[in-house]
């Protein structure tokens, strides 16, 4: 930030809040990313636990929010994976609520978007990928590999289809994580570019102040778009996790 205050990449820097020091050449510390993760968990707990502590038959407004949130995820799992996948409800609900709240908290000024670090999204995607792989192998045994042989395929194209299916299976965690990361990164960079435009224009005098209204309006519009994108990407991440889980339950088709 020293030379250029409106440099759009600066907002993604992970900074130490409480450094713990180095252990074996690896730096440990409580960072702004960690702070936002903790804040996300606190907000989710507040939404889900506080209104449901005293459950009523006629729900209060906040209890209704928690119930709608819950049944939204239930409907999502039942629609894309089926009822037997309800044992993975905690995983899907955690992914969806964590990403939704952290994306929205990341839009606050001076906060940090957890999903704008590729290490976070790739670990979440690896979690989903390994869950599908391990549960699929445990449930179906070697029958899980029928996933790579779609039914109703003539024998002479199987040698072509199987490698393609295999590669597409392996590339799932890559696209799963890159999608969320790229969306968050690109959205925040665009916001910072328009914010930088306001700062740049306001330094050139009165005319600059007048024209700075244009990027300001654009920034407001983009911020509301980012609210939509943050929710949509959390939803997409959770739906794709459900779709991938579907393969663990029904590999052969």
């Amino acid at each position: 930030m020293a030379e250029n205050p409106i440099e759009p990449i600066h907002q993604f820097q992970v900074r130490d809040i409480v450094p713990f020091g180095d252990v074996g050449g690896v730096h440990f510390g409580f960072t702004n990313s960690g702070l936002l993760m903790v804040a996300t968990v606190i907000v989710i707990s507040a939404i889900m636990l506080v209104p449901t502590a005293q459950r009523r038959l006629v729900p209060t407004r906040l209890q209704l929010v928690a119930e709608q949130f819950y049944s939204f995820v239930v409907d999502m799992i039942e629609a894309s994976t089926g009822h037997e996948a309800m044992r993975f409800f905690p995983l899907i609900f955690s992914l969806f609520s964590f990403l939704l709240i952290s994306n929205w908290l990341g839009l606050l000024p001076y906060s940090f978007t957890v999903a704008s670090q590729v290490i976070v999204t790739s670990l979440l995607a690896a979690l989903v990928f390994l869950t599908v792989l391990i549960y699929g192998l445990l449930r179906n045994g070697l029958g899980f590999f029928k996933l790579f042989v779609p039914s109703g395929i003539p024998w002479y194209v199987i040698w072509l289809v199987v490698p393609i299916e295999f590669i597409s299976f392996l590339s799932r965690p890559v696209s799963h994580s890159m999608r969320l990361w790229g969306n968050m990164l690109a959205g925040h960079i665009v916001l910072a570019v328009f914010g930088g435009m306001i700062v740049g224009l306001s330094t050139i005098g009165f005319l600059g102040w007048l024209t700075a209204v244009l990027p300001l309006g654009m920034a407001v519009a983009l911020l509301s778009l980012e609210l939509l994108v943050g929710a949509l990407q959390a939803f997409v991440f959770a739906v794709l996790a459900c779709v991938y889980l579907h393969d663990a339950f029904h590999p052969a088709h």
Binding site: S175, M178, R179, A186, L232, V236, V239, L240, V243
Partner: protein, 79 residues
Amino acid sequence: MDPEAARLMGKYIGAGIACIGMGGAGVGVGIIFGQYLAGALRNPAAAAGQFSNLIFGFAITEALGIFSLVIGFLLLYAV
């Protein structure tokens, strides 16, 4: 041209070329939402049931645009 300037030039030109890929993803996302809307206006009763398919197709298509964006970012900030 000195090597450092050539390196910078290649980096910026490459990042610009990488972003062309996003045009294809834009066409794809437009087709997906356009077709969904056309189908939904023909048969509004079936539209709600296809919403998750819409989002799934959108996500798969959009990932390709994101890949080219990632290449652009890698060239700009990691090379």
